[in-house]
């Protein structure tokens, strides 16, 4: 039953991975050939709704579900016990899928003024109240199942990953309740301030701790090295928990509001450099004695790349929250590029690493093609950074044109057209990578060679190697 639960979360996440980024690539055409997307209006649909589809699918469909799948797998392993209440986790998986689907339907329907069925005005928390309630039910079920597992552990001490995953589940719950329910108690500008708290903590207290917990599990086990430093682990975890919750208001730095709470957000954001450096040093120093593994192990490759992207994201983050930079890049695509660096770069790499690691152990089959896995990897390693650069370039040009030269936004549209074309092309490449990855997994279900513990997650090209040996 536990296996069934993990499989459900795991394969559902792949479906949403195929869909979410695809919608993103499609809607980027709006900026290139706006008339070409007029047909969407025939389905009561427009770019602005597609954007909600895109963010919600990626966050709740792909990242949320793949991370929960990984948690359901990792926690019992680290606690030396079976998953408790697997039935609960299994049905929570179905309910979560239902919630994501219902969310899409209600966003599409765009019902006006219904307290239960209308979109909520909070970015990344657009889900109507009805969907929110379903998601809370799922979260409670998952937390109950995971926490029971931790309590039933046979090993007395908890490994770093368990802190992150369990702590992360609880902060996820708090954040979600604030962003979707508490915020309803405020109106006017107060509403915006509580919304800001949610806005960044959706990334900081939901996706980040879960993603880092998964990486803390995968990197040592895939490189067969102990974690570099326990102290850095402690430092990274607690400073993350201390500094992250306050950062949200940097999204609205120049809005009319009490300056001191903005200052607090900026200081928090800059201090985030501490947990980030602690975590990334720990991740990158762990395989130090055994770097050769990176040629061999795909989970290690993806997880390490995830940590590298995480480092870039989080160096960029504190930099852009300072007033001097923020007024310039704010409102431009620079910020969206930053969000993609975190979610597409860092956390999707962690998700892919987790899937490649867990798939053989769950289904008893290796991934069937090294070539295809390599393609996915190089797309994430080469095409994705180009996509990110195109995105950032577009944001910078917008910033220069409007903030420095004083052009209006209509005059700027033609100036960024080429950058946006580049972004769309590279983005389509990244989407292709995800589709290939989905194909790789599904095909491996059918023709993947048998897997036994100790074998590589991705099948070695046995025939080719044997032939080479013969010719030599």
């Amino acid at each position: 039953m536990a296996e069934k639960a993990i499989k459900l979360w795991f394969f559902s996440s792949l479906v949403w991975l195929a869909l979410g980024p695809l919608i993103g690539a499609l809607m980027s055409l709006q900026f290139l050939w706006p008339n070409a997307l007029n047909f969407l209006a025939d389905f009561n649909f427009a770019y602005s709704k597609a954007r909600i589809f895109h963010t919600n699918l990626v966050i709740y469909g792909w990242i949320g579900m793949s991370f929960v799948a990984a948690i359901l797998y990792i926690i019992p392993k680290l606690c030396g016990t079976e998953l408790k209440y697997p039935k609960l986790a299994y049905w929570a998986g179905w309910l979560w899928n239902l919630a994501v689907l219902l969310n899409l339907i209600l966003i599409w329907a765009g019902i006006v003024g219904n307290p239960l069925l209308s979109i909520q005005p909070y970015e990344y928390a657009e889900a109507p109240l009805l969907v929110d309630i379903l998601i809370v039910l799922c979260a409670v079920a998952v937390i109950f199942s995971v926490h029971s597992t931790v309590l039933a552990r046979t090993k007395p001490t908890l490994y770093v990953s368990v802190w992150y995953l369990l702590g992360g589940l609880y902060t996820t719950a708090i954040t979600y309740l604030v962003g979707n329910f508490l915020v309803l108690a405020f109106s006017g500008l107060g509403n915006q301030i509580i919304h800001a708290w949610w806005l960044h903590n959706a990334v900081g207290l939901f996706i980040t701790p879960l993603g880092l917990g998964i990486a803390y599990y995968l990197i040592p086990i895939a490189s067969q090295q102990p974690v570099y430093s326990h102290r850095l682990g402690i430092l990274g975890f607690w400073t993350l928990m201390a500094f992250y919750p306050g950062t949200g208001l940097h999204h609205f730095l120049q809005m009319p509001m009490p300056t001191w709470i903005g200052e607090f957000a900026v200081v928090s954001s800059v201090l985030l450099a501490i947990p980030v450096l602690a975590v990334v040093v720990n991740h990158l120093a762990t395989p130090a004695g055994n770097w050769r593994k990176i040629f061999d192990s795909f989970p290690l490759r993806f997880a390490i790349f995830g940590s590298v992207y995480y480092l870039f994201t989080c160096i960029q983050g504190p930099f852009q929250t300072t007033h001097a930079v923020n007024w310039f890049v704010h409102f431009t695509e620079w910020v969206q590029a930053h969000a993609h660096l975190a979610l597409t770069g860092a956390f999707t790499c962690y998700g892919i690493a987790a899937i490649i690691y867990i798939f053989p152990r769950l289904t008893g089959r290796q991934l069937y093609s090294r070539t295809l896995a390599n393609w996915v990897f190089w797309i994430m390693a080469v095409v994705f950074p180009l996509f990110y650069l195109g995105f950032t370039h577009s944001g910078l040009v917008t910033g220069i044109s409007i903030n420095i030269l004083g052009n209006t936004i209509y005059e700027t549209i033609s100036a960024v057209w080429l950058a946006r074309l580049f972004r769309t092309l590279m983005g389509a490449g990244v989407v292709l990578g995800f589709l290939l990855f989905g194909y790789l997994i599904v095909r491996s279900l059918q023709i993947g060679p048998k897997f036994a513990e100790g074998m590589n997650e991705v099948a070695e090209p046995v025939l080719a190697r044997a032939e080479r040996r013969v010719t030599a």
């Binding site: 770019y47 954007r51 006006v112 902060t171 109106s187 708290w197 509001m257 300056t259 001191w260 209006t408």
Partner: protein, 337 residues
């Protein structure tokens, strides 16, 4: 920079509780970091009770920061509203100030704005920084947003992204529901370079309410309830009526106001037979009298004489109007004294 600060806005005036908390947490974190880096580690003492305490600490830390946000959120709710603060109740309607006779519900329009995700490309606040940039075309310095402007909103969608212009004063700049509806249905009819999607799928009621909401932005609710533009005199030249219609349908309204307020282009109010400071294509500045010939030239060849202080973004309308229509438009401008 006319940004008005509330007295407690400055960090030094935050509440005493806030500072006590900040000092406590700061000192605690510093001590913790020193311990984590240099202190003695005794792993065996990590008992179950210890883990529970740490787990509780995670939750407390998160909630503590949340409280730090709740304090200003509460304070922000108690700010007195400004005179121009958006204040429309459910069910209340406004009449189109553009004179088309349409009526719409601004409050419901705000919900339509929400349901269709307008906030992902448009913001509803002007920063002081924006005045020096191209973000705030036609904005007056005192139109920079203040805290009191948002008091009556049931929820706020200030927005984090600008793929299109800021809308916080759109109603003051273009007080015309019919124009907004036409623009929502086909944005590129008026702004050829616009990348905005078409919202032709909205129901007529949704469009009307959304347009009413747009018109309500940047106008004082009291004035809008009373009607911002005076009703035209009953016995007017039919050409003027035709010109007024063209002003809207040809999109002039998007850039030129008729009540003297600033926008992308110069206002038409009091334009006729007044001296205008213009810049010629070669850069020389001169003054011309705004007579019929000047108006005609400005419509057909906007680049020939650009009014000082404005950028030349206007497309040429040569060939777009018949002679009769052009004359009607000029008559309309003449009537705006």
């Amino acid at each position: 920079m006319q940004h008005q600060h509330q007295p407690w806005q400055a960090p030094s005036e935050a509440s005493g509780v806030y500072w006590v908390l900040v000092v406590l947490v700061g000192a605690g974190l510093l001590a913790f970091m020193l311990w984590a880096l240099y202190g003695k580690m005794r792993p065996r003492r990590w008992t179950t009770a210890g883990y529970h305490a740490l787990g509780a600490l995670v939750i407390i830390m998160t909630l503590f920061t949340l409280v730090l946000y709740i304090i200003p959120a509460n304070q922000a709710q108690q700010i007195p509203p400004t005179a121009r603060a958006w204040d429309w109740k459910p069910g209340e309607t406004i009449k189109d100030p553009g004179g088309s006779g349409l009526e719409g519900e601004p409050y419901r329009g705000y919900l339509v704005y929400l349901a269709n995700g307008c906030t992902y490309c448009h913001t509803l606040y002007l920063r002081p920084e924006d005045l020096k940039t191209g973000w705030a075309e036609g904005a007056k310095p005192d139109e920079v947003s203040q805290m009191g402007d948002f008091v009556h909103f049931p929820f706020t969608m200030l927005g984090t992204q600008r793929d299109g212009p800021d809308l916080s004063i759109i109603g003051r700049k273009i007080p015309d529901m019919k124009y907004h509806i036409d623009h929502l249905v086909d944005p590129r009819k008026f702004k050829p370079k616009s990348v905005m999607p078409t919202y032709r799928y909205l129901s007529e009621r949704d469009l009307r309410d959304l347009a009413a909401f747009l018109v309500s932005l940047g106008n004082e609710p009291q004035k809008l309830r009373a009607g911002v533009t005076p009703t035209p005199p009953p016995a007017e030249d039919p050409r003027i009526a035709k010109g007024r219609e063209l002003y809207r349908s040809a999109g002039c309204v998007a850039c030129h106001s008729v009540d003297g307020s600033p926008n992308v282009g110069p206002t038409w109010k009091g334009l006729f037979e007044h001296e205008v400071e213009v810049v010629l294509p070669d850069g020389t500045e001169t003054k011309v009298l705004a007579d019929e010939a000047y108006l005609r030239e400005s419509i057909e060849q906007p680049a020939a004489k650009i009014v000082k202080g404005f950028q030349n973004v206007m497309p040429s309308y040569a060939g777009r109007f018949t002679d009769e229509e052009l004359q009607a438009l000029i008559e309309y401008i003449k009537s705006l004294r």
